[in-house]
């Protein structure tokens, strides 16, 4: 990735300036981190590390999922709403059996995997439609996903309104919340199960990207769709597979998210896609397609999480945190663009 990202030709000496420009984002983030630690050294603790990891677990899943469509040269604005839909479905089906005001009072206590699988299938189906629009109907991914976003939000809100009269769905089955929140304590470091699931998903996606035909084809389609086509790659099928894979992960991650937070409304998931896209971009996934690594995506998520948690920890005005995040994204995009600008 380093090689391909460098605008240098082989044989040319590597200039300090280029090193700084290519790593500007990491330098900025490192400086911010140092600032946080200097202002409040207690930030450096295993407890905080555990918090940050638990908070980033679902974000990593979302970022890994959305990175696929981005590497294909597209994007997915419907991700956040699909995550929310998955959360609503699982929450409504997995309320605590002792709770009398359940949305489905007559529903027997379900094993937790049934609603999770159901949520994954539903999200997978919506992403299949999305992928079909992009791959077969050649709709611009931005517009296709914007439409899907509204469709999904509309449907989930109608469902929310119908089953719970727009009251938050809470008091979840302790087996379900425990599925995400339980864990072990290792020397003051809390390892929640949710972190383990994230690691499993990351490994799985890393495997797909690097070891399977689907992964190689994904990079080829994103890198040069014409070359892929001429080489006999089935563009439609591979695109569909990547989108469906993303959808399944939104479903799984959405279920984990609601198990982690303990309640759901139709606002769940709003804006999550933008966080995930931002993390990908900061991690070096090119919005032009064809470039990106899972390592970069995970680094992007972690850096964002460390910075936003750290800035709040030293009591920076939360509005200012938005500003800083925005600046970081802009720097990342400028650097990304610089690498591909064709000089005439």
């Amino acid at each position: 990735m380093k090689l391909s990202a460098s605008p240098l030709k082989p044989g040319q000496p590597v200039k300090i300036k280029d090193i700084i420009v290519n790593n500007a984002i990491y330098i900025v983030l490192f400086l911010l981190f140092i600032t946080v630690v200097i202002i409040d050294p207690s930030f450096l603790s295993l407890k905080n590390a555990g918090f940050i990891l638990s908070q980033s677990a679902t974000r990593m899943i979302f970022a890994c999922a959305i990175a696929g469509p981005i590497v294909l040269g597209g994007t997915d604005l419907s991700a956040g709403r699909l995550i929310g839909m998955a959360g609503l479905i699982t929450a409504s089906l997995l309320q605590s059996p002792d709770y009398t005001a359940r949305v489905f009072p007559n529903l027997p206590r379900l094993p937790i995997w049934i609603p999770i699988i159901l949520a994954m299938i539903i999200c997978g189906l919506f992403s299949l439609i999305h992928g079909f629009l992009v791959a077969k109907q050649k709709v611009a991914p931005f517009i296709a996903s914007l439409g899907m976003q509204l469709v999904v939000y509309g449907l989930m809100s109608v469902y929310f309104d119908a089953v719970s009269d727009s009251a938050p769905i809470g008091v979840l089955d302790p087996k379900f919340t425990g599925f995400a929140q339980n864990g072990f304590n290792i020397f003051g470091f809390r390892l929640q199960y949710i972190i383990i699931y994230a690691v499993i998903v990351i490994t799985f996606i890393w495997f797909i990207w690097n070891k399977t035909k689907l992964g190689k084809n994904m990079f080829a389609i994103g890198g040069n769709i014409e070359a892929a086509n001429v080489s006999g790659v089935n563009i439609v099928l591979n695109t569909l597979a990547i989108y469906v894979l993303a959808g399944l992960l939104y479903g799984f991650g959405g279920a984990l998210e609601v198990a982690r937070t303990g309640s759901a409304t139709n606002a769940l998931g709003q804006g999550y896609e933008l966080d995930a896209i931002a993390a990908c971009v900061v991690g070096g996934v090119s919005m032009r397609g064809g470039i990106g690594t899972i390592k970069g995506v995970i680094t992007g998520v972690l850096l964002f999480q460390v910075i936003s948690y750290g800035l709040v920890y030293i009591q920076v005005n939360p509005y200012l945190v938005y500003f800083i995040k925005g600046v970081i994204i802009l720097i990342a995009v400028v650097i990304d663009t610089k690498k591909y600008i064709k000089k005439k």
């Binding site: 399977t212 084809n217 990079f219 080829a220 890198g223 070359a227 080489s231 006999g232 790659v233 470039i291």
Partner: protein, 507 residues
């Protein structure tokens, strides 16, 4: 690589018989035949537009021929896409390499047919197979290197390896040496010879006749979409080939030259060089008032880069531009325009027309300031007048000025763009292939416009790949070769042979 027993050196590996292909207004191929033997390199030559690439596109199924047959290994074939051709052992090393730049060499070679081990791509086998092919061909490239970091010649080697990996029996090289150094050319030739010795039939398309004499066994010459000659290379000289390539007579295809260049030099360009390669390396020339300076050169001679650098849409590294006695910078198109330059770009579809907008818009867009009053409001009446002038004066055939330009023919689109620049009242008109993709009738109109432009006292630089039209309307012809001016000759006394020789001066 090859099944030795199935190959007889005397039968043809590939036969293309009586291929015809027409496009609206043009007969691109007229009964063209090409027969390739195994164990041989067959050169395919002809001027730009002679039909070489159309013929290859028919072979690869990018175009469907109107008539004729293609026989591969004694079996009639008709491919519908390049992939199918590749599956049948017909492969092409393109001049413009179509590769996934950000992925590795081996992934590019095996794309679309990765070796698998269960559900996992067998990277080790992919690496070993690539390595083996590279060793066979004496190519020293790491299979894991990222393609985008390789040199053009290395990327070309990767394409060749890909062809070999598909067990290609017919390999087409399209201008393979146009961006290679002498050492790289030697290496390429060793590889081509090796492929020939293994029984491949190689189609070698090039303008470089010295190379052809060296590498090829047989040669086929095309001219104006027709087959002209096929023979052994031992029996022919370069001069004979040149005569075969250009041998056509000039008839009344051009309007009379009414304009008279004066002695007054209005543009003086010295040592013009661009910043980012490939670009112009060194160009010096003078342009007189009322003169048409033709610019000749082969593909890759960087004529386009020269005028684009002059016009400021490519970065200039060196050189001076002196217009009517004062030095101008021409840092960008805006500045060049106000200095009195106009540029009709080569790629009309990409950088000329605004396809979905109407003729009026396409006429005035380069000159929008002239049609704006001091409050920033457009002067509709003046716009309508000038658009009408363009349509009438340039005889643009269109139902109305509201017609979207994409619905006009190529020739009429080109006239509108010419009109756009004439409305800016330029001193120096730069025309980059103004007649490309234009039918014969409209060509005459465009020649007339160029001559009219010179007659009014403007100076014109006229790039063309068609030698007859350069000779037909230019006063002098500047020949470019590999980014340099190879010579400036008088159009009245020069010959196509001389132009072709100059064009290969710095190759």
């Amino acid at each position: 690589m090859m099944q030795q027993e199935s190959i007889n050196k005397d039968t043809y590996l590939l036969e293309m018989n009586g291929i015809c292909k027409s496009f609206p207004g043009v007969k691109a191929l007229d009964e063209v035949s090409l027969r390739i033997r195994p164990y041989s390199v067959h050169a395919l030559v002809g001027e730009n537009g002679a039909g070489k690439s159309t013929l290859m596109k028919c072979l690869f199924g990018i175009y469907q021929e109107d008539a004729g047959e293609i026989i591969l290994n004694g079996r009639k074939v008709n491919f519908s896409n390049p992939r199918q051709a590749l599956d049948n052992g017909v492969s092409m090393v393109h001049q413009e390499l179509n590769q996934v730049q950000d992925r590795s060499v081996m992934e590019n070679i095996w794309l679309g047919r990765f070796p698998m081990k269960g559900i996992v791509v067998d990277s080790k086998k992919m690496y070993d197979d690539t390595k083996k092919i590279f060793e066979d061909l004496n190519i020293n490239i790491d299979p894991k290197a990222i393609v985008g970091t390789l040199s053009v010649s290395q990327r070309q080697m990767v394409e060749i390896a890909k062809a070999v990996s598909c067990h290609a029996k017919i390999i087409v090289f399209d201008e393979p040496t146009s961006s290679l150094t002498e050492v790289e050319v030697r290496h390429l030739f060793r590889i081509i010879n090796k492929l020939r010795d293994e029984g491949c039939g190689i189609i070698y398309i090039s303008h470089k006749l010295e190379e052809i004499i060296e590498i090829a066994d047989e040669i086929t010459v095309l001219r104006d979409g027709k087959w002209v000659y096929t023979g052994r290379c031992e029996n022919i000289t370069i001069d004979q080939i040149i005569t075969l390539i250009v041998g056509r007579e000039l008839n009344n295809r051009f309007p009379p030259k009414k304009h008279k260049p004066s002695d007054e030099v209005i543009l003086h360009v010295e040592n013009l060089a661009g910043e980012y390669m490939p670009t112009v390396i060194d160009a010096s020339f003078e342009l007189r008032k009322g003169e048409i300076l033709g610019v000749a050169g082969l593909m890759g001679s960087r004529r386009t880069e020269t005028v684009e650098t002059l016009f400021g849409i490519r970065k200039r590294k060196d050189g001076t531009i002196n217009l009517e006695g004062r030095n101008v910078e021409n840092k960008n198109a805006r500045e060049s325009k106000s200095n009195g330059f106009a540029l009709l770009t080569e790629e009309r579809r990409q950088t000329g027309i605004f396809p979905t907008l109407d003729i009026t818009f396409n006429c005035i867009i380069a000159n929008i300031d002239k049609y704006t009053n001091r409050f920033g409001i457009l002067k509709e009446k003046k716009i309508a007048e000038d658009t009408k002038w363009v349509i009438d004066a340039l005889s643009v055939k269109t139902p109305s000025e509201k017609t979207k330009i994409q619905y006009l023919s190529g020739g009429n689109q080109q006239k509108v763009i010419m009109g756009r620049w004439l409305l800016t009242e330029p001193t120096v008109m730069l025309l980059d292939e103004p007649t490309r993709g234009v039918d014969v009738g409209a060509k005459y109109d465009i020649y007339q416009l160029i001559i009219d432009c010179a007659e009014k006292g403007n100076a014109v630089i006229f790039i063309s790949s068609e030698m007859p039209e350069l000779l037909g309307i230019s006063d002098r012809i500047m020949v470019m070769s590999n980014g340099r001016v190879a010579g400036i000759v008088d159009a009245k006394t020069t010959t196509q042979e001389e132009l072709l020789r100059l064009a290969s001066k710095y190759l």
